[in-house]
C-alpha cells in the first residue's frame, strides 16, 4: 500500500478507537551498492526497507507501535497495540503531539540517486585508482559505490503534515597495503561519485595506509597528544550523548545542572547546525515535527544549552531546541544533534604540532563502543598515529592506547586547529572538528 492509503487507514482506525491525539511517522530507505574484489565486481545489491510508527496519547501517556507489514488490517492492529502500550506506561512526564512551528526552512531538492550502471562503473574506477596509487595495494582491498535515498512523512492529529526526501551517493574504500609480512589498512568515505573525487579518495586512503607501514610501538608514559581532525570528531561523536537533556534528567550525564557554567577551555565552541553546508543530509523538522534550528551548545567554554525535545524541555521549563530524533521509523523519540561541530581555532596544524613539541599525533582510534563510557566520561582507546619530535611529524606508531576522561579533556584542550572536517553520515546526525592539542595524556604502549 502507498503512504497516502496507509495514512487514511490509520486515521480511520484511530477515529474508530476514539484516539484524538496521535502521530504517524513513516520512513522508507532505498539503498543500492556495487562492491569489487581485485579488479572485478564482487556483487551488487539493492535493499528497500522501511515501515510506519504510530504513537498516541491515551490517559496522558504515550504508547508506541510500529510495523513493516504495510497492509490495511495491520494498520488497525497497529493502533490497537499502541493504545494498549500507552495504558502500561508509568512515566509521568507530560507528553505532546506538536501543533506545528511558526515557520520551517524550505526542504532542499534531493540529489538524484545514482543508477546501478553508475555504481558499478564508479566502484571499478575506484578499485583501479586504488591499485594504481601504489604497488603495495593488495587483495582484500574493497571499493564500494553506494546510493541511499530516505523518504520521511510525519503526519499528526493536529493537521501537521511534513515530508523530507534526501539522497546521498558515496564512495567507500578499504585499502589494504602489504610490504614483507606486514599489512596496513585504511578506510575512508567520500560523498561523491565524480571521477576526480574517486581519484582523490583512492590517493588519500592508500597514502594513509602506506604511511603506517613500518609502524613501531611507543613506551608507556604521559605524552602531549594532537588528535587529528577525524579523531577529534570521533571523540565528540562518542560523547555527544552527554549533551542530551534526557540523559541529564535521567542522571546519566554529568552535565546535568551545568547550563551556564564553564565546562571547557575558552578555545572550545561547539555549534549544532541542522543546515550546515558540509553535512550530506539536512532536515527542516525534527522527529516530533518541530522546526530545526542552529544553536551554540558550548560558547567559549561555557555550556549554553543542552539538546531538548518537547518532553524534556517541558520538564526543564525551557523551549525545545528541536533535537527530537528517531534512528529508524521504529525507534522511540530520542535526542540527537544535527551537524555537531567544534568550531575552528586560530592555529594551523603545523603550528599545533609545534606547540606539542614532543608527543603523538593520533590519526586512528578504534573500539569507542566498548572503550568509552559516556556515563563516567572515561575512555581508554586503541590508537595509531605518528611520533611528534621537535614539533614535526616523525615515524608511524601503532598498538598503543590513549586514556582519559571526556569532561577533563574538554577543559584541558590547549589549542584548536583551523582544519575543520565534517564526517560522512547516512542520517541527519554528523560531527565535525579540527585537530586539537591535549597535553599530558596517559599512553600505554610497550
Amino acid at each position: 500500500m502507498e503512504f497516502e492509503a496507509l495514512k487514511q487507514a490509520l486515521i480511520d482506525a484511530a477515529a474508530q478507537a476514539g484516539i484524538a491525539q496521535y502521530e504517524i511517522y513513516y520512513m522508507e530507505t532505498a539503498e543500492s551498492s556495487a562492491t569489487t574484489f581485485q579488479h572485478e565486481l564482487k556483487g551488487v545489491s539493492s535493499a528497500r526497507s522501511g515501515g510506519i510508527c504510530f504513537r498516541c496519547i491515551v490517559g496522558g501517556k504515550m504508547g508506541y507501535a510500529s510495523t513493516e507489514l504495510l497492509e490495511a488490517d495491520e494498520m488497525v492492529e497497529l493502533v490497537s497495540r499502541a493504545a494498549t502500550a500507552a495504558t502500561m506506561i508509568e512515566n509521568d512526564d507530560k507528553v505532546f503531539i506538536w501543533g506545528g512551528s511558526p515557520t520551517y526552512r524550505s526542504p532542499e531538492a534531493a540529489k538524484p540517486m545514482a543508477e546501478m550502471p553508475t555504481l558499478t562503473k564508479s566502484a571499478l574506477a575506484l578499485a583501479e585508482a586504488a591499485y594504481a596509487a601504489d604497488a603495495r595495494v593488495t587483495d582484500g582491498t574493497e571499493a564500494t559505490a553506494v546510493t541511499e535515498e530516505v523518504t520521511i512523512h510525519l503526519v499528526n492529529s493536529t493537521g501537521l503534515e511534513l515530508s523530507n526526501h534526501v539522497a546521498v551517493n558515496a564512495a567507500v574504500l578499504e585499502a589494504i597495503v602489504s610490504e614483507d609480512e606486514e599489512k596496513q589498512v585504511a578506510f575512508d568515505i567520500a560523498a561523491s561519485l565524480d571521477a576526480e573525487n574517486l581519484n582523490a579518495l583512492a590517493a588519500k586512503t592508500v597514502g594513509n595506509a602506506c604511511a603506517m607501514l613500518g609502524a613501531g610501538g611507543i613506551e608507556t608514559g604521559k605524552y602531549n597528544i594532537v588528535f587529528s581532525a577525524k579523531q577529534a570528531r570521533s571523540i565528540l561523536s562518542t560523547f555527544s550523548s552527554v549533551f542530551s537533556s534526557k540523559n541529564a534528567q535521567q542522571g546519566l550525564s554529568l552535565l546535568a545542572g551545568k547550563e551556564g557554567e564553564v565546562i571547557a577551555a575558552p578555545c572550545v565552541t561547539i555549534v549544532d547546525d541542522p543546515a550546515h553546508p558540509a553535512a550530506n543530509a539536512h532536515t527542516h523538522f525534527d522527529a516530533e515535527g518541530v522546526a530545526t534550528a542552529r544553536k551554540n551548545v558550548i560558547e567559549a567554554g561555557v555550556l549554553k544549552t543542552l539538546l531538548y525535545n518537547l518532553q524534556t524541555a517541558a520538564k526543564a521549563g525551557v523551549e525545545t531546541t528541536g533535537n527530537a530524533s528517531k534512528g529508524s521509523y521504529a525507534s522511540p523519540v530520542g535526542i540527537s544533534p544535527y551537524c555537531f561541530c567544534l568550531e575552528a581555532g586560530e592555529h594551523n596544524l603545523d603550528n599545533l604540532l609545534a606547540q606539542a613539541g614532543d608527543g603523538i599525533y593520533v590519526t586512528e582510534m578504534k573500539g569507542f563502543h566498548a572503550g568509552a563510557d559516556a556515563v563516567t566520561g572515561d575512555f581508554s582507546i586503541e590508537c595509531a598515529g605518528f611520533r611528534i619530535e621537535g614539533g614535526k611529524l616523525g615515524g608511524p606508531l601503532k598498538s598503543f592506547t590513549v586514556a582519559g576522561n571526556f569532561f577533563s579533556l574538554l577543559k584541558e584542550i590547549a589549542a584548536v586547529a583551523d582544519n575543520v572536517e565534517v564526517g560522512f553520515s547516512g542520517g541527519f546526525t554528523c560531527f565535525g572538528a579540527p585537530a586539537i592539542l591535549v597535553p599530558g595524556m596517559s599512553v600505554a604502549g610497550k
Binding site: 508509568e90 574493497e142 546519566l252 581508554s380 598498538s399
Partner: protein, 463 residues
C-alpha cells in the same frame, strides 16, 4: 509463510537471468521491548519486521535485492530485479526451467516453554521491575537504574534453486539492567545482561534479583576503584564474557568473509600451529537454547559444531556458501544475517575456548603482578591486521599471586595472531556470555565463552 509454488515461481524468475543459484529468504519478526528508567516503565514497544531478500550467484559474483512488499507482484518484481542484474554478469541467459522444491524439516533443538508474546506483557513488566528494584535497593549510592526486557520471535523461510524449502522459528529473551553509582560528582556504572534462545522460562535460570544485584555491585566496585595502571603485563581473564578476547582476537579473522578474499591474518594457515598448545576453540551453533544457537543457518544449512583450533592447530574456518565457492570449501552452517535487508555472510554462533589443563587457583597464583579481568565489555578488530581492542568492565590488580584492589577504565589491545600464542594457561570453569555481534551482515546474537585463562603478556590501556 509463503506457498511453495509461489516461491518456486520467484526462484525460476531469478534463474532466467543466467544465475547458477538463486535463494529466497523471508522474514517475519516480532520484537517486544519494555524499558524501565528510574523506578517507572518508560516505554513498551511492539515492532513487526516483515520482508524478503532475494539473492543469486553467477559464479563468484552475487546479486541481491530486498523489499517489504511480499505480495506476489512485489516478490516477482524483486526477483526480476535480481535476475535482470544477473544478465549483466552471466555467460548466457538460462532457458526457463521448473524449480522443484522439497520441504525439509530440521526439528527444533531449542524448546521454548513460555512464548513471550503480547499476552505476557504484564508478567514481563513484573520480572523487569523485580530486577531493577533489586539493583536500586542494593546500595544507597545507586543513583539510577535503567533496564530493558527484550523478546524476539523471529520466523524465517529459506528456499533455493537446489530445491531446498525450509522454515525456522527462533525465540530469544534477554534482560539487561544497568546501575549507576554516584559519589562526589563522579558516576560509575555496572551492567548485567543474560539472555537465551528461550522464552520467559529463562528467568528460572537467571533470577531477576540476581541480575539487578550483579549490575549494582559492579557499579559500587568501580565507584571505589582507582584507574588501572598502564603498561604490558600478564592478565588473567575470567570465564563467560571474557571469551570476547577470542571473538575479537581470532574469531572474526576465521570467518570466510575475510579469509576468502585473503584479507585475514589466518588465511592459508589450515593445519598450522597458530595458538598456544592449551588452546582448543570451538564454534557450536547446536548448543540447546544458547543465545547464539540456530537450527539452520540463514542459507538453510543445519547448524554444526566446528572445532576451529585444536591444541593450537588451525582446523577449520567458519564458511557460508558464497565465500565457500571462492575457497573451494563447503558451508559450515555459519551463514547469518540480521534480517531480510542484509546479505548473509559467515558469522560466529556460540564461539568459545574449551576447558584446559590448568587449575584456576594456579592461574591466579602464577601472576606476581598483573591484572585480573573479572568482567569484560565489548571490543573490535580489524581482521586484516589483527589489531584488536576490548574493554575491561571490572578489573583487579593481582599482586604476589593474590587478587587485590579493584581498578577501572582499562582496555586490552594487541594483535590477534600474537595474543593467541600468548594464551599459556587455560582453566576449567568454561562458561559463556551473551553479546550482539556487529559486522557486514548486521547485528546478530552470539555467545562468547572460555574458562579462566592467562595471557602471558598484553598491553593494558590504563593511566
Amino acid at each position: 509463510m509463503l506457498n511453495q509454488s509461489l516461491v518456486a515461481e520467484v526462484l525460476g524468475r531469478v534463474m532466467r537471468g543466467g544465475a547458477d543459484f538463486a535463494e529466497l529468504y523471508l522474514e517475519r519478526t516480532k520484537n517486544h521491548v519494555i524499558e524501565y528508567v528510574g523506578g517507572k516503565i518508560e516505554r513498551i514497544d511492539a515492532n513487526l519486521l516483515s520482508g524478503v531478500g532475494i539473492r543469486a550467484f553467477c559464479g563468484l559474483r552475487s546479486v541481491s535485492a530486498s523489499t517489504t512488499d511480499i505480495s506476489r507482484a512485489g516478490l516477482l518484481a524483486c526477483a526480476a530485479q535480481v535476475g535482470d542484474a544477473c544478465a549483466e554478469f552471466a555467460a548466457a541467459i538460462n532457458a526457463p526451467a521448473d524449480i522443484i522444491l522439497t520441504e525439509r524439516r530440521f526439528g527444533d533443538i531449542h524448546p521454548v516453554m513460555i512464548v513471550p508474546g503480547d499476552a505476557q506483557t504484564g508478567r514481563k513488566i513484573e520480572l523487569l521491575r523485580t530486577g531493577c528494584t533489586a539493583a536500586k535497593e542494593h546500595d544507597g549510592r545507586i543513583s539510577q537504574v535503567k533496564g530493558y526486557l527484550l523478546d524476539v520471535d523471529h520466523q524465517i523461510l529459506v528456499a533455493n534453486s537446489d530445491g531446498l524449502f525450509c522454515e525456522d522459528r527462533q525465540i530469544r529473551t534477554r534482560m539487561a539492567v544497568t546501575a549507576v553509582a554516584s559519589k562526589d560528582g563522579e558516576n560509575q556504572s555496572g551492567t548485567c545482561s543474560p539472555g537465551r534462545r528461550m522464552g520467559l522460562e529463562v528467568f528460572d535460570l537467571f533470577d531477576p534479583v540476581e541480575i539487578g544485584r550483579h549490575a549494582a555491585a559492579q557499579a559500587i566496585t568501580n565507584l571505589g576503584a582507582g584507574y588501572c595502571p598502564a603498561g604490558v603485563m600478564p592478565v588473567a581473564i575470567e570465564n563467560g564474557f571474557g571469551g570476547v578476547i577470542f571473538h575479537e582476537a581470532c574469531g572474526h579473522s576465521l570467518e570466510a568473509t575475510s579469509v576468502a578474499v585473503g584479507a585475514s591474518q589466518f588465511a592459508g594457515k589450515l593445519g598450522q600451529k597458530i595458538a598456544g598448545d592449551k588452546v582448543t576453540a570451538i564454534d557450536d551453533g547446536t548448543i540447546p537454547n544458547a543465545w547464539g544457537s540456530i537450527n539452520i543457518d540463514d542459507e538453510g544449512t543445519p547448524a554444526q559444531r566446528n572445532v576451529l583450533i585444536e591444541n593450537g592447530v588451525l582446523k577449520s574456518y567458519m564458511i557460508d556458501k558464497l565465500n565457500g565457492r571462492r575457497m573451494g570449501m563447503a558451508s559450515t552452517g555459519n551463514a547469518r544475517r540480521q534480517g531480510y535487508s542484509y546479505e548473509p555472510t559467515s558469522r560466529m554462533t556460540n564461539t568459545f575456548i574449551d576447558n584446559g589443563p590448568d587449575r584456576n587457583e594456579d592461574i591466579i597464583a602464577s601472576i606476581e603482578y598483573g591484572l585480573y579481568a573479572k568482567e569484560m565489555g565489548g571490543g573490535s578488530v580489524n581482521p586484516a591486521t589483527g589489531a584488536f581492542n576490548f574493554a575491561v568492565r571490572e578489573g583487579y590488580i593481582i599482586r604476589n599471586g593474590k587478587i587485590c584492589e579493584p581498578v577501572r577504565g582499562a582496555s586490552l589491545i594487541g594483535t590477534g595472531s600474537e595474543i593467541i600464542q600468548n594464551i599459556d594457561m587455560v582453566g576449567q570453569n568454561l562458561d559463556r556470555g551473551q553479546g550482539m555481534c556487529g559486522s557486514s551482515s548486521g547485528s546478530i546474537p552470539t555467545d562468547v565463552g572460555q574458562p579462566l585463562i592467562r595471557v602471558s603478556q598484553i598491553t593494558v590501556g590504563g593511566r
